[in-house]
Amino acid sequence: MNEGIIEAIFDALEEVNEHLPNHWKIEKSTQTLLTGESSRLDSLTIVNLIVAIEQRIEEKYGVMINLASSEAFSDQNPFRDVGTLAEHISSLMGAVKP
């Protein structure tokens, strides 16, 4: 399932890249950092990315997930990079049956 989720995240990154300046484009890689000190993404971009990913997951799997819940921003930080985000989404989807 993770491959499909990563594909959905990459699709969402493409959508967000359409309106980001060239020097801020987000690389489509599982190692790409999304939050933290080394990330260049501002809060508006993160929000846009969250919404775009939620839409892709719903379109692809028919499951509505909530990435912006307070648990998501816990100490473990599932938004650290694309890979950790995919795992987080996978666990959320396991908890929410379509």
Binding site: H19, L20, P21, I50
Partner: protein, 579 residues
Amino acid sequence: MNTLEIKSLIIADFTADVLAGYLNNDDESPRVKAACGPYGQVFQVLADETHGCWRNEHEFAVIWTRPEAVIKSFKPLLNYQSIPPEKIMSDVDQYCDALLRVRDRVRFAFVPTWVLPLYHRGYGILDMKRDLGVASTLMKMNLRLAENLEAAPNIYVLNAQRWIEAAGKKAFIPDLWYMAKAAFGNEVFKEASKDIRAALRGLSGSSRKLIIVDLDDTLWGGTVGEEGWQNLTLGGHDPAGEAFAEFQEALKSLTNRGVLLGVVSKNDESIALDAIKSNPEMVLKLEDFAGWKINWGDKARNIVELVSELNLGLQSTVFIDNDPIERARVREALPEVLVPDWPTKPSLYKSALLGSPYFDNPSISQEDRERTQMYVSERERQNARSNLGSLEDWLETLETKVEVQDLNEENLPRAAQLLNKTSQLNLRTRRMTEGELRNWIAAPNRKFWVSRISDRFGDSGLTALVSIEIFDRKANIIDFVLSCRVMGRKIEETMIHIAASYAKAIGLEELFAEYIPTAKNKPCLEFWGTSGFELAKEHNAFKWNLRQAFPCPSCVELRFYSKGSFVETAPVLSSASYL
């Protein structure tokens, strides 16, 4: 508008950075550099012309608001309170007064109409009741907004409802609002960006003017050379036939906006033309086409020849063909020609055409509506010419009439349009809005004449203009602009005669014309080189000594009009413009 990057300011009562991003990321010309004003300070920015936002000399502004945020009395209406409609309209008027202040700060401003989230059902069954419904009130507010802003010709109201409908379910995303104060989803901003860019293309005179279509499986279903015109899929009680007929109707409708139609097709010309003339289901007739190239040659080469015959540029052209190989060939050979991806299903042809944002213009003149007829007249003119000997003999038979007027409020929109859209026979390629032109002519040392050209084949409309500026007893020709439709018919010399006669009559000694080269106005330099003017010391400047009259060509009948009435056959000498 000729700068490489157009600076713009987005003023909104919500986060609109995504719109700025879409505008900035489009590589198509004109390039835009958009920035957002401070969040939620619409009134402050509009009211204060010294606000830091305005320091960057933006060429255009987008002012986008939510009705409940800027129209105080609308919010309670949304909460189903009873609000007097006149109170709401008064608030709209007040907001419009603030909007009108930007007209002098930017060259153009775009104001999207107000919309409501799709989930807001208003009063449901009662929502279109006058003076009660939310939807009916919002419609009236938008109409009032558009009417009020007509006071500023450089402010354009854009229909945001179309963007909402195009975005569908993705138009309003509550998470984006609650987490980022973005009022709309990305799809809405993307559609808005497309429309704003289309408006910019129109305002900079770079909208497309010519659609060249293929025939087989594009204009009709089937191959006419093999099946015969009687067996084509077109019209009748057939889904595909109806789709082809409606596509033709859509093409024809665009001619009313000034778009020309042409045909480039691999076929035997006689067979194809016979099909157009004889098939009773054809919506498009031969006289709807400005020209055609129907043969077995390379389509890219045929497009170049047709565009050249019509005196247009490749950058003004759209090519529509159902065959992806032909499209790829034209795209590669002629990158300036817009070749849209074309749907495989004829049922989608009409929507693909009417949804394309390449034909927008800031005004529609009578000349635009009659443009195809003018080209048909030109075709007849050229046919007549081929039966005659010399060029002079032919010109004498045309019975050309040039009707001259000073610039006035009636002809100002068309004059500005001609100034902004003409590239080839254009001395200095000045691009000006109506307001800028009005301000320019207000100076007493300037004169501006516009001319309507007609001959025995038809009326070409207001297609020539010339203006002068007087300094130190010398007159300088500032604008010398002719539509390509009237080039080479001695109108050029006639326009100089008008300016020279006026300058001589008021006692000036010399008339100058300075040519400013562009990528497209070489035909203008070629004309001036043969005009009889002396090449002045300055590079690309031409001089006429006014002790000698510059004659009016004998093949032209010149008439002057003032405020709609014929006045005299000499230039109008009143120095004051009656704008």
